[in-house]
């Protein structure tokens, strides 16, 4: 029963239904894969071995009792900012030391209901603030394709564990590209669903109006299957939206024709400073889609260039309030003081890493008296323009193609000293978070140095079905997704 860890949700689900393996077999195999590789990759913060095997046993029993679900018995890794009842939820921060989640995030409850096996919690940039998983207080994660390189971030652990076959799939969260960018850096498939598609209840908030939970998987079909499990209206999340959840997995068949599909190419997305190898891979992918029958049309997103400025105002402002609760009073780390003010300051100074402090300070500043209109209000208005750009563009196309990032994964330490430079890398992913629509990252090639390149497929609000269809057609007619890092 070797090599189960290399398979996809789709493949394992078939094997499980056919009785060719059990969930216990899969989890056992995954655990040995983790043992073999995670020393090098460092994706996991905690592996819940016994608990995972118990869940696998239960999944197998449920199957015997007649339960069937595509996620039944499939092991999934969880980004460590999702609350899992009875487990820590560190957000890769010292400030949450000692916190035990007393409840399940809605997506965790949905995974449990579907019979998925929760393997453990994976590393990330502290409070999801970062693009390289280097801002993590509790672990160091490497890119499985080259251990000297960053896995991307903030969901670096979620992408790395899937790429290294240390999980069949994982959950990440995407506030400005935090699923799509690490997926692109690690050669995995990452989906940022439409805002409101997946409940945020139980997701430790970074920027509430931008955060979405989504899957990182080995294939587009797996992405569809896992997303379908996560979706749906949640009364616990006021921003969760009541839209029908289509049968996302089933629609993806062997038919890979893109006849009748209009794909937009935004000229603004091939930005200055883009790695020519990335640009070429993406342009090749566009040609490939054309060869599958798609019509390529030019679209314009003129305000996308303001996205970074808008994003770093709105996201940090929201974060400055969202992270105020980490104060050492009710849970987590506490450094005592003579009065509450001193306790707060000592706890927060010691508990937060530099990037988190930097963003809290920026966010506090843009909201402070006298500056609100100039920064926050203005950013919210430009956000309207960015959203209108997409609305306009989707009048002439069904989906938009672009790179995910201007470059492939870079070496560790390369950008840590220059926050602005690091922020600018989010230029192609943040517009989607600001506009609220959905986007998918699919492998579309490698650089000459052997690092994966991602193709971003952007859809209109609640058009996950469309971008999955495009992604699936592209993936099934190319070989990129079959490549595996040699670890």
């Amino acid at each position: 029963m070797a090599e189960l860890h290399k398979l996809t949700i789709t493949e394992l689900s078939e094997k499980l239904s056919a009785g060719e393996c059990t969930s216990v077999d899969i989890v056992t195999d995954i655990l040995s894969s983790i043992d073999a590789r995670d020393g090098a990759v460092g994706a996991y913060l905690t592996v819940d071995r016994d608990d995972a095997l118990d869940q696998a046993k239960m999944a197998d029993e449920a199957r015997t009792a007649g339960k069937a679900s595509p996620m039944l018995g499939i092991p999934v890794a969880i980004k460590d900012l999702l609350n899992v009842k009875g487990q820590p939820c560190t957000c890769s921060s010292k400030v949450l030391e000692g916190y035990t989640a007393p409840y399940d995030a809605t997506v965790i409850a949905k995974l449990r209901e579907a019979g998925a096996v929760l393997l453990g919690r994976v590393n990330m940039d502290e409070f999801a603030m970062g693009s390289s998983t280097e801002n993590a207080a509790l672990g160091k994660t490497s890119n499985p394709w080259n251990l000297d390189h960053v896995p991307g971030g903030s969901s670096g652990g979620s992408a790395a564990c899937v790429a290294a076959d240390e999980a069949i799939a994982s959950l990440g969260s995407d506030t400005g590209g935090s699923i799509r960018q690490p997926a692109a850096f690690c050669g995995s498939v990452g989906m940022k669903p439409t805002y409101g598609r997946v409940s945020r209840y139980g997701l430790t908030a970074f920027a509430s109006s931008l955060d979405q939970i989504g899957p990182i998987t080995k294939t587009v079909k797996d992405s569809a299957i896992l997303l379908e499990t996560l979706c749906g209206l949640d009364p616990m999340d006021s921003s969760s939206i009541d839209v029908e959840v289509p049968a996302l997995g089933e629609q993806l068949t062997d038919d890979t024709s893109l006849e009748g599909m209009k794909l937009g190419l935004p000229k603004e997305y091939f930005v200055e400073g883009m790695d020519p190898e990335v640009e070429k891979a993406v342009r090749d992918a566009v040609e490939h889609c054309k060869s599958l029958g798609a019509e390529i049309v030019d679209v314009s997103l003129p305000n996308a260039k303001y996205a970074i400025a808008v994003y770093y105002i709105i996201a940090t402002a929201e974060a400055s309030a969202n992270l105020a609760r980490f104060d050492g009073i009710r849970y987590g780390m506490r450094l005592d003081g003579k009065d509450p003010a001193e306790l707060y300051a000592k706890t927060r100074s010691a508990g937060f890493g530099q990037e988190v402090k930097r963003r809290i300070i920026l966010g506090t500043y843009v909201l402070s008296s006298g500056y609100y209109d100039a920064y926050y209000l203005k950013a919210q208005k430009v956000r309207t323009l960015i959203r209108s750009d997409f609305t306009e563009a989707f009048k002439t196309c069904d989906a938009i193609l672009s790179p995910v990032t201007p470059t492939a994964a870079y070496k560790k330490g390369e950008k840590t000293d220059d926050p602005l430079k690091m922020y600018l890398d989010d230029i192609l992913t943040t517009p989607v978070n600001l506009a609220g629509n959905c986007a998918l990252s699919v492998p579309c090639g490698f650089t000459s140095a052997g690092m994966p390149i991602g193709l971003q497929i952007i859809g209109d609000d609640f058009q996950e079905e469309t971008i999955l269809k495009v992604g699936h057609a592209y993936e099934q007619t190319t070989e990129w997704h079959k490549e595996r890092p040699s670890l």
């Binding site: 105020a324 780390m333 003081g337 300070i361 006298g370 919210q380 208005k381 959203r387």
Partner: protein
């Protein structure tokens, strides 16, 4: 956005955010954040006086719940999470003034 040219007083803002910065951090952040603020000034190119602001990407209204009592957390779990507690209450240093 003319105010940005003055640059931010990192020390003051950190105090608002209840964070103590070391001198090195203050200097480092001062430089880095002023650079970010300078970058952000590009928004000045846009005239948005007639543009509505977006607080929620997908606009929805009236998301209510019924006024029904549900389950609360187990008291022991709440206390177990609190770094310091006395008689079922969360203990904090003496609050002196508002």
């Amino acid at each position: 956005m003319s105010k940005t040219h003055e640059g931010m007083d990192v020390g003051y803002v950190a105090k608002l955010a209840c964070i103590d910065l070391t001198e090195e951090e203050t200097t480092l952040f001062q430089g880095q954040l002023n650079q970010v603020l300078h970058y952000v000034e590009q928004l000045d190119e846009l005239d948005v006086s007639n543009v509505e602001s977006t607080a929620h990407a997908i606009p929805v209204f009236n998301v209510f719940r019924k006024d029904v009592v549900g389950t609360s957390l187990n008291h022991a779990d709440v206390m177990a999470n609190a770094p310091s507690s006395v008689n079922g209450e969360v203990r904090v240093p003496k609050i002196i003034d508002q």
